[in-house]
Symmetry: C2
Subunit: 218 residues, 2 copies
């Protein structure tokens, strides 16, 4: 996101942004390279001054008075603005010991990464905070992933509920899964997944130790 641009934008403007974005993508798909505020206003039945102001609030460059904005750059700026490109933030579902450990882990910040919230199905856990991060009811995964604009979901639930959690995340717009639950998740091909199998890591270490032990000695 463009740090130099303050987020002083009206709620009404904000709500128009996804509509602009959808239209800009259609224009790009139709082979256009530039778009003016006046053209977009005509397409959407909005007032040109309003649209010009909205686009100016989001665009990282000024539009060319004659041909308008370069479509590719404007789409990227708008995606950044809407958090569509958010690849640094995650939510974690399953606030047991491992979930808490991740929520409290200090070294993510060094990589520019953060876990911004947690979810748990236990009503006694939902509503609490861990390391300053709010924990929400697991029933709100889809809704809040969408509202937060996060695209990375971490699963630290028992295996029995992991697929259900995964499905709710994907409905909420999650595009990458970091899975600590010991099972294979069924996901579409375009979803990125990292499976973290702690037992397999432990077993590999044990195997290397056994191998060293059984190697010929003097």
């Amino acid at each position: 996101m463009d740090d130099a641009k303050p987020l002083s934008i009206s709620r009404q403007s904000l709500q128009r942004m996804p509509i602009y974005l959808e239209n800009l993508k259609k224009l790009r798909a139709a082979g256009k390279s530039h778009v003016s505020a006046a053209f977009l206003a005509g397409e959407l039945g909005l007032h040109p001054v309003q649209v010009r102001k909205d686009l100016a609030a989001v665009s990282s460059v000024d539009g060319n008075p004659r041909i308008g904005f370069a479509l590719a750059g404007l789409i990227e700026d708008m995606e950044d603005f809407l958090g569509c490109n958010n690849a640094n933030e995650a939510v974690v579902v399953g606030v047991g010991n491992l979930g808490r450990a991740l929520l409290s882990y200090k070294n993510f910040a060094g990589y520019g990464l953060s876990i911004i919230a947690g979810f748990d199905s236990d009503p006694a856990v939902a509503g609490t905070t861990v390391h300053g991060k709010e924990i929400f009811s697991a029933s709100r995964i889809t809704e809040l992933c969408g509202r937060f604009g996060v695209h990375i979901g971490i699963i630290t639930t028992p295996a029995s509920s992991a697929q259900e959690v995964c499905d709710a995340m994907l409905l909420g717009g999650i595009k990458a899964i970091w899975n600590f639950a010991p099972l294979h998740l069924n996901i579409p091909d375009d979803i990125i997944i990292t499976n973290e199998n702690l037992a397999a890591s432990f077993a590999a270490l044990s195997g290397r130790l056994r191998q060293q032990r059984d190697a010929p000695k003097l």
Copy 2:
């Protein structure tokens, strides 16, 4: 360990075992292939009947009445008996959220692995149990690793104390380290190590997501 052989062995016998083992290894290094109880008794100034009884309690096969025990097999049996070959059990140092998560993790058992105890420097944590496993003071790492006969140590402390913990483990006979602390540990060449860098895993996932996002679209 040989499950069929009950551990009905006197404390005195048990204390002689490491002495036998040391001697057996010397004999093997000297090129011998077999050893009799009588010979070993003579070497160590012990009564042959006592030594015969001790070796019979440990050996998985009966000694040949004429040439005694095959040295290689007897050494292996004695190492098994003394837990020298233990590659399935670990201790964890640092009983914060991550340490607790590992102590409570149910899937290690499926691989025949277990974390048998924990250590923590916090006096409020030492003396408690987590998932039925005792938590000891971090000052006892070296002593208890040796007494438990474990060879795998898991480090889930902050980076600032990880090297000190590692050193105490190695003094206690730990041969393989599973390190979750975000730092490079200085260890001898013959020590096996697996570094688990959670931040790097998260960063890699974030990087893949960014790469997918920036890939050419239709």
